[in-house]
């Protein structure tokens, strides 16, 4: 079993109903599996995914403080203890 911690920020807190949750996944699970598990309503699917293979442009995913990029990003393997953050794209001063 792989246990990962998910943290939600900005509008994703409302979307997923909280600041974060812990999720248990099968060994060797990839990010795609995690996101599909989280997006269990049409609304959540629509806000996070843009089609089957890509994320919406404003969705930023970080694994242990490092952003996950590109179409291959969804294939990122997850390890026990990983912290996954789901963020809205933002910037400021």
């Amino acid at each position: 079993m792989t246990k990962v911690k998910i943290k939600f920020f900005g509008p994703f807190r409302d979307l997923f109903g909280g600041r974060g949750i812990d999720v248990e996944l099968p060994e060797g699970a990839r990010l795609r599996v995690l996101l599909r598990r989280l997006c269990d309503t049409p609304d959540r699917v629509q806000q996070v995914f843009a089609g089957a293979e890509a994320l919406q442009p404003h969705v930023v995913i970080m694994k242990n403080g490092t952003p996950i990029h590109g179409p291959d990003g969804l294939e990122t393997p997850l390890q026990d203890g990983d912290i996954i953050a789901i963020f809205p794209f933002l910037g400021g001063g």
């Binding site: 920020f9 809205p88 933002l90 400021g92």
Partner: protein, 612 residues
Amino acid sequence: MSELPWGVHGKILEVDLGSGRIGQSPLDPDLVADYIGGRGLGARLLYDCIDPTCDALSPDNVIVIAAAPLIGTNAPTAGRGHMVFKSALSGGIGSSNCGGTWAPAFKSAGFDALVIRGKAASPVLIDIRPERTEILPAGLLWGKDVHQTTEALQAGEADRRTRVLCIGPAGENRVRFAAVMNDRNRAYGRGGPGAVWGSKNLKAIRVSGQKKIQVKDKEKFQSGLDQSFYLLKQAPATKRLLRDLGTAGLVELINLINMLPHRNFLDNLHRDDDVERVSGETLAKKLLQRAAGCYLCPIGCQRHTRVGDKKGEGPEYETMVMIGPDCDIYDLEAITQVNYLCNELGMDTISFGGTLACAMELFERGILQAKDTDGLDLRFGRSDLLDEFARRIAFRQGIGDRLAEGSYRLAESCGHPEFSMTIKKQEVPAYDPRASFTQALGYMTSPTGACHLKGGYAVSLAFFGGTKEIPRFSLLQSPIGIRNMHNLGIIQDSLGVCRFTGYAFSYDPWARMMSGLTGLDFSTARLEEIANRIAAVERLFNLAAGLTEADDTLPARFSREPILVAGEERLVSKEAILRMKTDYYRARGWDERGNPAPATLASLGIGKRKSP
């Protein structure tokens, strides 16, 4: 001289506070083509009219406030003014930008720029009206805070849509990081423009006007305008996110990428619960009354907030973090309240927080002691002393007199300049450079000293840049990436538009709008050339003021004391500093000492300084 382009009035208002003389001079049309307006025009005008070695707080300093061609059109966010002066902190170029509605009012008064020389014998205000401009006595306003001054000067003026730019007690008392404020809460914040005003006995500039500008090619202008609005609506940051969370929405993200400063940049370690207390999400939940935008702004990042029965604006990300975690403070209400106070006193919150953090470290190390701090225990975390210190600094009382000099001069006076986190004596903003070499380079090569606006905002490049993305520890890519980011910022500041439009687009819509408005060629290639020209003039000013490539560096802490970033220890080594800045100079066509090469100056058409 060429023909005057459309979009400008062709007039510079000249005020000599010493002699009391008021006049106008024609705006050279070539300056519009070569420097546009705002930051660029201001830099060239300042470079041509002062001795860069003068004392920043002497009557020899000059203040240039420049509007821009797009101001007066309905281009999005086109209402930002720019103030150029010799900085009270760095001694190099001071270049400060601000939103609000003063600059559009000034443009409607019929001028493109205002040049203020000399020093008045006693406090004055400059009153700019359609029929005439006058210097009026302001003795009764001296001592009033920014809000009181604004209200007093706007009383009975509602039908004229009068706007006020003014200083508060901090500027009057020449606090080296005093700001100039418009619309009560919008700041020309960094480099101490407020101190320069105070040193001239200039309390306020009130302006009203009705002159409009015309667009030469309405179709071309409209196509750029349509493109800009479309792109602003597409980009997530400008469509919704900045409105929902404000810039403080960044706090959690910056912590997640290990870039959030703590205890005068000692480390980047925070408890998650504490960070949440000062996050944009918590601000929205607890204190936010409404969001709002500046002049013609569809983005709406302003925070109108309330603590108890006190209302005000902010805090922004920088304020939240520099007064918050950088001082080991996580009390949202205390940070917000002192932000309100800094607005009323007219003081830059970044340098205030950075100076306080420095003082706290000096105190904890025993370098400053209770006998030096008026008996106050100035350890990190003293949120209960924030308001007290803001007032002591603004009124230069007790230890406040030393803090009013900024953290560099404070630490140096204690014999320990190494505890001041500054570059060119200006406080480092709320992004730890050890967590991004790109940001480190941006800070080092910013012409005004450490700055996240003049220095380029590298967080976007590392995480949200898309095809322009640059890995944050890339020594190879950072120099060109930062030069490009600097150039975009220079153009935005010279056009009078907001940095946040950069989340939606770079040059294209502006190129179309400017070409359509003025009838001149403002292609994107031309805009790049103009940016390089302005960067070179700012550099020439700094070199003439006595700054050198040795000043393009980082505080020793960032080279000696590592922090953990994504599991790895990071610092910015001396070798990395040297390599990146040398590559940056080369990318600009400057020599290895950072001097613009003669061939570069020739190709940019930069002539000799006109000043005596």
